[in-house]
């Protein structure tokens, strides 16, 4: 099952692309003509197709089965969306074309933005951020810009300890100091602790809602009010928007900025780690500071606001975060997804996602500890701990054993507030039959973990690879392939 590397199969003399013979011209390369081999192996098309087809079969994917990664929202990716994204009118247009040759593109961007504003109950949206973490950055920069415009630059962003790692990293990347706020025993933000910390140095808070324990923050509006009262602003991490889309509008909860992962809630495919897309919705307070470029509708047509045109309209914008207009290819997919579902279907999405998660919660909480399960229903994901496993048996063992049952593991050891956490997000695109099979598989593995079945330490047995040595990989990183003699010489 080992597939050789392209460098082991191909040579620099073979190719899978025929190129027309160039006309004879006088070279104008400034004397910098390449004078050494690059070392790029080529494959003929038959070889390349086979190489990547075989490689692909070593991957697990949504198309193969349940992908219960908590907080990742691995849902079905409709194929219509792939088709739409490839329409030449979207896929084969250049970002710097004269604006009146791309009116349909601006219409699409603006239409998608309107859907996002209406679904979140927020008045403005920035479309250009490239992914969730980039959206967070966009939100934090807008907060900082607004405070600076007020003449009230502040230094600290508060982040709950259960937050995604991107939240503190983003705040730091934007030049902020980061401070944690603790969680209550019920898995929510500790409102009292938060209120106690608020003050003139706090620029704002970054809160995930529904939070990373899979719970809705019932005090969200009170948190927002408290932060606003203290002169700060509220950022909401929208990674878990799938739980409430079409049913709750974050704008009704006092939020100032929230990014939306189009690749989660609106089903643009994850592609093995991207591309994503992270538009950010803004409150009135932050709207003037949105980054360039963006699209506005004027009467029947759409105008592009960028450096050249921003001064008249949007002098307060904090500037450009990316070259060009953002992730057009994700916009087309997300809009196709939204139009397909409609307002009624999106509501159903949230309801089925929450229903599926609670079904898992209640089908497993007799054998797995659900730390916050007693308190009531969860939202779109169910959280369990490793309590009750036999000595020496860990969440990792359980996860790897799950691979042998034909499933991708759940999110492990996150959130950090729960010991040996297992966070399971089924999404709405799984059938009851699939959930029942998964629950059955998990129950049998849990029984083994409790009984202390030693073979679990070696799992998986039926995957393309056995457990991989990650420590060795990190100790002496091998990040590129080298010709065997070179590799030896480098020892």
């Amino acid at each position: 099952l080992e597939e050789a590397l392209i460098f082991e199969i191909g040579t620099t003399a073979s190719t899978g692309v025929d190129v027309e013979t160039p006309p004879a011209v006088r070279s104008r390369l400034g004397g910098l003509d390449r004078n050494r081999e690059i070392g790029l192996a080529g494959l003929s098309e038959p070889q390349a197709v086979r190489h990547y087809t075989r490689l692909s079969r070593q991957n697990y994917a949504i198309d193969l089965g349940l992908f219960p990664l908590g907080s990742c929202t691995m849902k079905h990716n409709p194929r219509l969306n792939e088709k739409v994204a490839r329409m030449p009118g979207f896929a084969d247009i250049h970002p710097l074309q004269p604006v009146d040759t791309v009116g349909g593109a601006f219409e699409l961007i603006h239409t998608l933005g309107e859907w996002l504003c209406k679904l979140t109950g927020m008045p403005a949206v920035a479309m250009s951020p490239k992914a969730g973490a980039h959206g967070e950055l966009c939100g934090v920069l807008a907060i900082r810009s607004a405070l600076e415009a007020r003449g009230d630059a502040r230094e600290v962003i508060l982040v709950p300890e259960s937050a995604h790692g991107t939240n503190p990293a983003t705040a730091a990347f934007a030049g902020y100091k980061v401070e944690d706020i603790p969680a209550t025993p019920e898995g929510r933000v500790d409102l009292a602790a938060l209120e106690a910390r608020l003050g003139p140095d706090v620029a704002g808070v970054m809160i995930t809602n529904p939070n990373t324990c899979g719970l809705f923050e019932p005090d969200m509006k009170r948190i927002s009010d408290a932060v606003h009262a203290a002169g700060g602003l509220v950022y909401c991490d929208g990674a878990n928007f799938n739980a409430i889309v079409g049913r709750v509008r974050p704008g009704d909860l006092g939020i100032d900025a929230m990014h939306i992962n189009l690749h989660k809630t609106f089903s643009t495919p994850h592609g093995g780690g991207g591309p994503g897309s992270g538009p950010v919705v803004f409150s009135e307070a932050l709207a003037p500071f949105a980054p360039l470029p963006f699209v506005e509708k004027q009467g029947d047509h759409y105008i592009l606001i960028e450096e050249e045109t921003a001064e008249d309209h949007h002098a307060s914008s904090f500037g450009r975060m990316v070259a060009f207009h953002g992730q057009m290819g994700m916009f087309t997919r997300a809009l196709a997804y939204m139009m397909s579902h409609g307002a009624d279907g999106l509501k159903q999405v949230a309801e089925d996602a929450v229903l599926n998660a609670n079904y898992i919660l209640r089908s497993l909480d007799d054998v797995l500890e659900a730390p916050f399960g007693k308190g009531g229903p969860c939202m779109h994901e169910a959280l369990f701990s490793d309590k009750g496993f036999a000595e020496g048996f860990t969440t990792l063992d359980l996860a790897k054993a799950l691979i042998d049952e034909g499933y991708h593991p759940m999110t492990m050891y996150f959130p950090l507030v729960v010991h040996g956490a297992m966070l399971i997000e089924p999404t709405e695109t799984e059938s009851k039959e699939t959930l029942d099979q998964f629950i059955g598989a998990l129950r049998s593995i849990v029984a083994r973990a409790k009984a202390g079945d030693p073979s679990m330490h070696q799992a998986p047995f039926h995957a393309p690879r056995r457990r991989l040595d990650e420590t060795a990989a990190a100790r002496k990183p091998v990040l590129v392939w080298k010709e065997p003699e070179q590799a030896e010489a480098a020892e």
Binding site: A169, G273, G274, A399, A473
Partner: protein, 455 residues
């Protein structure tokens, strides 16, 4: 709803198991006043696949797509022919619908492809190592500056006037918040060397400089040897960062790494990805082995499994946000995985031979076009050297000319007035890109229309 497998009977059975009256009971934590009583107002209900395809198709047809016209736009996004097998392969469900490969036992497809991608990028750039991709070239550029700050513990970078203005704008936006000092300048249409500010860069390096950032070829197509600049940087313990927006160029000219650049970043869109109105693209990022622990982004590394078989994992994740939180080298999480795969598949199909042939063809066609267009009265070819794009100095504002050519269904290039609204003396500049997709007829049609517009 075609995407929702639960049927009413399923929902009822599940609610019974949960012990909930109805689905509303599951939203009990949401304050009453925040719960909507029905679908969100102002949005349509669900639509058939036929209807969605029809509506979005109508939007798409309002755009002039590149295949419909003679097309000469570049400046950071290039139209190349992508083999059909690239899209076929990246659409395999196992690639398309998989997640970040955190479970390596069942993600070797993605991991090995990324390892191959890293090797290709490192070799193309002439560097030791490369990461598994960034969002795009512009954000990669800023991440390189941040990385240089971490390595040098200095926070003053000099950016060449030849760097793409959008990339500069992205860096300026961020620097304003991080308090990094950026030394920037507008390019000039210097005859023979547009956008070349080598003298300024060499003069500007001092003991405070973290890095010098240059683009190669620069945004106006000019190609400059970076060797002396690299030496000067290293003499002052500053880093040289090179930005490459057109990877195909490196099939014809020397890599920045060979000339001494410490970090090479750029846009990979030319290979495998397509124009897509600016995104998603794929940021490439490569550097010296000794700096790898300061690198942002994901890295695939080789290791072995418990049975001794070779395998790949994400590694050095202690640099990353999900482990290191606010001390991470970057906040990047989702990157551009599928575009990196597309880049790598295209590069694998090309191989050394294909890439060099392709680069040679691009250059030859660009030279042909430049020579033809420069024959037109009143038009000057500004560049001495170039790869596949060059600047023409027109007798009038290039924005209007480009506009008039678009009306004649010719997308003629990027006017510098659009890129540099404040750029003095730049408004008559038009950047023209020529690739293998431009036929002789395209070039002839462009020349004829330009003559007509200028007449």
């Amino acid at each position: 709803m075609r995407y929702l497998p639960l049927e009413p009977a399923d929902r009822a059975a599940m609610l019974a198991k949960i012990g909930a009256r109805d689905v509303d009971a599951l939203f009990a934590d949401v304050p009453e006043e925040a719960r909507l009583d029905g679908p969100v107002h102002g949005l349509p209900d669900h639509a058939t696949e036929l209807a969605v395809e029809r509506d979005l198709g109508a939007m798409a047809r309002k755009n002039v797509s590149a295949a419909d016209v003679p097309f000469f736009l570049g400046c950071g996004a290039y139209r190349h022919h992508i083999p059909a097998s690239v899209d076929h392969l990246i659409q395999r469900g196992e690639f398309l619908t998989s997640y970040t490969p955190y479970q390596p036992e069942i993600a070797q497809g993605t991991l090995q492809a990324l390892f191959e991608f890293q090797t290709q990028v490192a070799r193309l750039y002439g560097c030791d190592v490369a990461n598994a991709s960034m969002y795009d070239g512009s954000t990669a550029c800023w991440e390189a500056i941040v990385m240089a700050r971490r390595i040098t513990r200095r926070s003053k970078a000099i950016i060449s006037a030849g760097v793409h203005p959008h990339y500069v704008a992205v860096c300026q936006t961020m620097a304003r918040f991080t308090k990094d000092a950026l030394d920037v300048a507008l390019p000039e249409l210097t005859d023979g060397a547009p956008g070349d500010d080598m003298a300024r860069l060499l003069a500007g390096i001092d003991g405070e400089t973290s890095a010098v950032v240059v683009q190669y070829p620069n945004v106006l197509g000019h190609i400059d040897d970076l060797s002396e600049l690299a030496e000067r940087c290293h003499a002052k313990k500053a880093l040289l960062i090179a930005v490459v927006t057109e990877p195909v160029a490196l099939g014809a000219i020397r890599s920045p790494g060979e000339m001494g650049a410490d970090i090479v970043v750029g846009e990979g869109q030319s290979l495998g990805v397509g124009l897509n109105f600016g995104g998603p693209y794929v940021g490439l990022f490569a550097c010296r082995e000794k700096h790898v622990r300061q690198m942002p982004g994901r890295l695939a590394g080789e290791t072995v499994d418990a049975a001794g078989q070779r395998g790949f994992v994400l590694t050095l994740s202690t640099r990353e946000q999900h482990i290191r939180r606010e001390k991470a080298t970057s906040n990047i999480c989702t990157n551009s995985g599928l575009c990196a795969l597309a880049f790598s598949v295209h590069m694998t199909l090309l191989g050394e031979k294909g890439l060099r042939n392709l680069a040679a063809l691009n250059h030859a066609r660009a030279v042909q076009a430049a020579e033809r267009l420069a024959q037109i009265d009143g038009i000057d070819l500004v560049n001495g050297s170039f790869f596949n794009e060059f600047v023409l100095r027109l007798p009038q504002d290039a924005r209007q000319v480009a506009r008039a050519l678009a009306d004649r269904m010719i997308l003629a290039g990027v006017s510098l007035g659009r890129l540099y609204p404040d750029g003095e003396g730049l408004d008559r500049g038009l950047v023209v890109a020529v690739t293998e997709t431009n036929s002789d007829e395209d070039i002839a049609a462009f020349a004829a229309a330009l003559e007509e517009v200028l007449a």
